[in-house]
């Protein structure tokens, strides 16, 4: 019964995810909140792992969350669930792709979805940022460390064009160094 519940929840998440990995995060935050299966700190670690390992981010996230909730089978079920509706849709539209591409309503929906997906992703980001800030605000050295890290990592991204797994690697190393000082 647990597996069925998990499958249906991830099937729904996949169905309402349009535009890739980040778009699943609002749904995953909500899943954690409504079921209590995991907290936002787990989610943040999980996002970091999924971004720095090979494979589609959405599948990576579903596997980690699924394993956390229901073990090895949970990971498999969640991954298949999150991908299934997209796969079915692709099989359906494959024979007459151009017809769908030029459809008026499809074009409208795609245009309208952009701002709302950005809004949802930005909202989730606020929740995650707030969490990190609260974790940092236990002491002022930690807060200063956080501020320096944000500036340094932004510079690495913007000026040196580092990849996401490199950013995460640098962060992990800094954290490791910090654990010797504090």
């Amino acid at each position: 019964m647990m597996y069925l519940d998990l499958f249906i929840r991830f099937l729904l998440i996949g169905t309402f995810t349009i535009g890739g990995g980040l778009a699943t995060i609002p749904h995953l935050i909500e899943l954690g909140q409504s079921t209590g299966w995991f907290d936002e700190r787990f989610l943040m670690t999980m996002i970091a792992i999924s971004e720095s390992t090979p494979g589609p981010i959405g599948i990576n996230m579903a596997t980690v969350v699924g394993v956390k909730i229901a073990g090895v089978f949970g990971g498999i079920i969640a991954s298949i669930g999150v991908a299934l509706s997209g796969v079915i849709m692709m099989l359906l539209i494959a024979p007459s792709l151009s017809k769908y591409r030029n459809n008026r309503y499809v074009a409208r929906i795609l245009k309208g979805l952009k701002p709302s997906m950005i809004g949802l992703i930005l909202s989730s980001a606020f929740l995650l940022w707030r969490n990190t800030f609260l974790d940092l605000s236990v002491s002022s050295p930690l807060l200063i460390y956080g501020g320096v890290m944000v500036v340094m990592l932004s510079a690495c991204l913007h000026f040196f064009k580092l990849k996401s797994f490199q950013i995460i690697l640098i962060s992990a190393l800094c954290g490791w160094g910090l654990s010797f000082i504090l």
Binding site: G71, S79, R101, L128, L153, S179
Partner: protein
């Protein structure tokens, strides 16, 4: 053929770092240049459509191009093969993550990784906003969604469904 498809797409899944956007060059290398199954245009067209549909972009692309060129059975093989490396690897990591106890060193590392992910997300969102060049209606919709999700605690699934309905009616004004 089944085995060949499986092997190629397993490789694509294994060597794609950083999600959907990073997948395209890896996919091109394997199925266009090395295997010659598709033309570059066929892959690009599939990728464009896959990005616009529900689900996981990389899996959608794989499924769509294979279904168009070959058949639905091979498309399913390709989709599973693309997912498999992720499932195997992340199951191991997930099992470790669920059993490991958090010591102070780990706590600092995880906290720092959180900061890194926060910066990455901020950068991605800025890129999205820049790329989509929103007009006044677009910003209105963006703010409405944020109020519904953060302020009124609406379900994210419901908000997406509502956005689809609104867009079908008035999407051309955005």
């Amino acid at each position: 053929m089944v085995l060949k498809i499986f092997k190629s797409f397993f490789k694509v899944g294994l060597f794609t770092f950083g999600g959907g956007y990073a997948m395209l060059p890896v996919l091109m290398d394997e199925v266009v240049k090395k295997q010659g199954w598709f033309s570059e245009d066929e892959v690009l067209e599939g990728y464009a459509m896959a990005q616009l549909s529900m689900g996981i972009i990389a899996i959608n692309t794989t499924t769509l191009i294979t279904a168009r060129k070959f058949n639905a059975r091979l498309a399913l093989v390709a989709a599973l093969a693309t997912m498999l490396p992720s499932i195997l690897l992340l199951t191991l990591i997930g099992m470790y993550l669920s059993t490991s106890n958090i010591n102070p060193t780990f706590e600092m590392i995880f906290l720092s990784i959180q900061i890194g992910v926060g910066v990455l997300i901020a950068y991605t969102i800025l890129g999205l906003i820049q790329k989509s060049a929103l007009n006044l209606y677009g910003w209105g919709l963006l703010i409405l969604v944020m109020v519904l999700f953060l302020g009124l605690q609406w379900s994210s699934l419901l908000i997406v469904a509502l956005s689809i309905a609104l867009s079908a009616l008035w999407g051309h004004k955005l």
